[in-house]
Symmetry: C2
Subunit: 199 residues, 2 copies
Amino acid sequence: MARTAGSFGGVTGPRVLSTAQRLFARHGYAAVSMRQIASEVGVQAGALYNYIPDKQSLLFDLMRTHMDEVLQAWEDEPHPTGDPLAELEAFTRFHVRFHLERREAVFIAYMELRNLDPENLEALLARRKAYEESLTDILRRAKAARLVSISDPKVAAYGVIAMLTGVQTWFKDGGDLSREKVADIYWEMTRGAVGAMRG
Amino acid sequence: MARTAGSFGGVTGPRVLSTAQRLFARHGYAAVSMRQIASEVGVQAGALYNYIPDKQSLLFDLMRTHMDEVLQAWEDEPHPTGDPLAELEAFTRFHVRFHLERREAVFIAYMELRNLDPENLEALLARRKAYEESLTDILRRAKAARLVSISDPKVAAYGVIAMLTGVQTWFKDGGDLSREKVADIYWEMTRGAVGAMRG
DNA sequence: GTCTATATCTCGATAGAC
DNA sequence: GTCTATCGAGATATAGAC
C-alpha cells in the first residue's frame, strides 16, 4: 500500500507544469533554469526529467495546451449563429474574459514563439491561425451582409484581436473598472472599429 | 597617422549596437550570448567590453534610445493642434508608420521589459507612460469637445495603441497592401473605435 | 520517484600581451 | 582596440543508488 510521497494522486507532474508556467510568464523561458523550477516545486533538478523529456517540451506542452483550450473554449462557448454582429459581440466578450482569466498562459503564448523549435512553432502557429480564422470568418459574413464597413476582414481581425488582447497588459482587479465593465468598453470599441451600425 | 583597423570613424561601436538589436529582436535578450554578438560583429567577445560596460547596459541603451526617438519624432512630427480629431489622425498615421519603420526596436521595447534591472525598468516605463499620455491627452480633449463617444480616455488609449502596434506582427512589404493603404485602414478603425463622427 | 553526483558545455566578464 | 587565455559560475541532462 505504501507509495512514494510525491506519487499520491500524481501531484508533482502538474506542479512542474504550473510552476514552469508561472516562472516562464514572469521571467521568460530563456531566463528560467531547470534548477529554479525544481527548487520551487520542491525537488532536485534531476527529478524533473521523470515528468518531461526536456525543457523545450515543457515550453511546447504549455503553449499547445493553452491554444487547444482557447479553441475548445470558444467552440463550447454558447453563442448565437446566423447573426454576425451578435457573434462578433460574443467573440469579443469571450476573448476579453478568457484572456483575463489565463494571463500567464496568454503571455507565454505571445512572447515565447521565438523559443520554439521549428516544428513546434509550426504546430503552434497552425492553432493560432485557426483561432484568428474564427474571427475573420465572422467579419467576412458581417461584411457580406453589409453590417460592417470594413474593407479587409483579415486586417480587421488582426486589429481587433490585438486591441482585445492588450487588455491583459494594464487591467488590474480591484481598480475602478470591473471585468464586466471592461468587456462592455471593449465591445463598444470593437463595434466601432469595424464600423457596425449602432443598434 | 596609422590607427588600429577598427577605429577608423569608430565603426565598431555602432555595429555592436545594431548587431545586438538585430539578435535581441530575433532571439530574445536572454537567449543571445555576448559571443554571438561578437561573432557577428567580427571581433572576439572580450573586445565588446571596450564599447559597453555589460550586457544589461547594452539592452537598456537600445530600449532607452528607441523610446527617446519615438518621443522626439512625435514632437517633431508636423501635426495640427486645436482640432482633436485631426490630431488623432496624425497620431494614428505617425504611430503606424514609425512602428513599421523600426520593427526591431519596437519588438525589443515590448518584449524585453522583464529583463531590465529595476531602475532601468522604471526609467523606461516613465518614457512609455509619457508617450501613452500624448494620445490620452488628445482623447481627453476630443471627449471634452464631444467629438468622440468614449467613456474612458485612458482605456481607449490602451485599446488604440495595442491595435496600432499590432500592425508589425503581420505586415509584410510587397504584399497586397502598401504601408499607405494600411495606415488608411488603421485610421478608419481608430476613428470607429473611439466613436468619432464620420466626416 | 527522488536523491546525489557528475559529465559536458556555455555563460558573462576580466587580465594582460601586443 | 583587439587578441588569447582563463576564471568562476551556472546551464541541461544523465547515471546509478535507494
